[in-house]
Amino acid sequence: MSGNPAKSLKMNQADDAARFSIRCNDLSVQFANNFVAVDHVQLDIEAGHISVLIGPSGCGKTTILRLIAGLQTPSTGNVDLRPNSTAGDGQIAFVFQQPSLLPWRTAMENVILPLELLGRGDAKDRHNQAMQTLASVDLADSHDRLPHQLSGGMKMRVSLARALVTEPSVLLLDEPFAALDDMLRSQLGELLLRLWQERLFTTVMVTHNIAEACVMAHQIHVMREGQIEQSIENPLPWPRSETLRRRPEFGDFYGRVGDALRDDA
């Protein structure tokens, strides 16, 4: 099975309408010190796809995520989300490089937080929703633990659950597994793929890890100095899992992306 997994997973029209496409039109960001973080970027991300931004540090990957999230105002251009999303409606979720949990709140309370901020449902609904989401990241048993009582991987899963609890249409991930060891990274990558295959949220992920990009992405956008230098379609078949890494075509594609990055360098 290859190509668009949305088709292969037999999504119906209502589901299609609930997913967002993202179009970045001539997007630029220039900071007060004249540093150009993003330079006239044109980027189209199909609804229900996973796009990965990869490139050297400081090339503008995170700034693009922040622009899509509405956390950064562009100097020129705009981000077009379809259907329309307004700031603070919970349709866009963000997973940061660090888990960034509130240390005084339990895992459950951290996951409930977005629902409370959005004013969604009553206390019981929120609790049920948060519990279900925690269960989806295999953390139901740890719901009452404070962040300092959780391991690094567990904290990251709470962070992921917090992002997913609002059932977002767009998930933005900023090097979410960068601080984890290879084993955890691989497990969480697998978990993210499973959750995506269940929910098909449009995903934009920043990573420095070529293998992670090859496993996750439909398209890999290679960035350099604020621009997208190359967009590469990922031909690897769906559904995917970490076992994909053992297939010979994975090695070929890995090499291709690596070459693209080296060309940039």
């Binding site: 700031a87 603070g88 409606d89 490089q97 960034s100 509130l102 005084w104 901020l117 962040p147 609002t166």
Partner: protein, 268 residues
Amino acid sequence: MMSTGDEHRTKQVWLGAASVIGVAALGLVLWQWAIYFFHLPPILLPSPWQVLQAAIQERHPLFEGTLATGIAAVVGLATAVGIGCILAIAFSQSNLIRKAVFPYVIFLQTVPVVAIAPLLITWSGYTFRTIVLVTVIICLFPIVNSVTEGLMSAQKDLNDLFRLYGAGRAKRLAWLQMPTAIPFLVIGMKTSSGLAVIGAIVAEFFVGNGSNYNGLGTLMTGWQAYQRTDALIAAIFASTLLGLLLFGLVSLLSITVFGRWTTGYRNR
């Protein structure tokens, strides 16, 4: 049955207590030795035993003085916490206010409280209020400084997260910045708890003699005038114990009322 970890902790607690008692015993021995070796008269340095006798003899004024100073210190500290938190919130919300007002808060810290105490008496009289005022002035800076730092130390990612879900400035302040600042408030309160006792006693040096108020500072100036060095040293010990008690109370608050916020912060 105790686990190995519990046994280790208990051993550490006992070891800590024994070392504190050991240092105190060594101090007493050195004290007694200095009197013997330098032939010091009791008016210059009474023996530990004489100080203990004076403390027993003057237990009623000492207790009442400690209570009066303690109340002034607690009221002053609480007022400084209230004013300090309001100022810190204003500083965290506006760079302009912070730049304009913060230098004056530093001024309060640098101005010698002994120098302004007579002026405060002129304005406020020989009253309990003046003692509290001096205490507030001396306690304010650590509170404002710590809480401002705490309010402004909320992680950028968390601020972004709150913004992403439409939280405005007031909600970010109440849900994110204020809880983040609680461990910093506790640090400021711990620093100020000792200062509160100092502030109250310094103010009593000035205020006490013109009124019927009998705090530890008033007692100290009286006993110094009567060359009651033994009672004076007993009062110094009482003020030290008061400072420790206040510090202990703040520590207790930090693990009970504020425990949820401080535990998470300590174990980040």
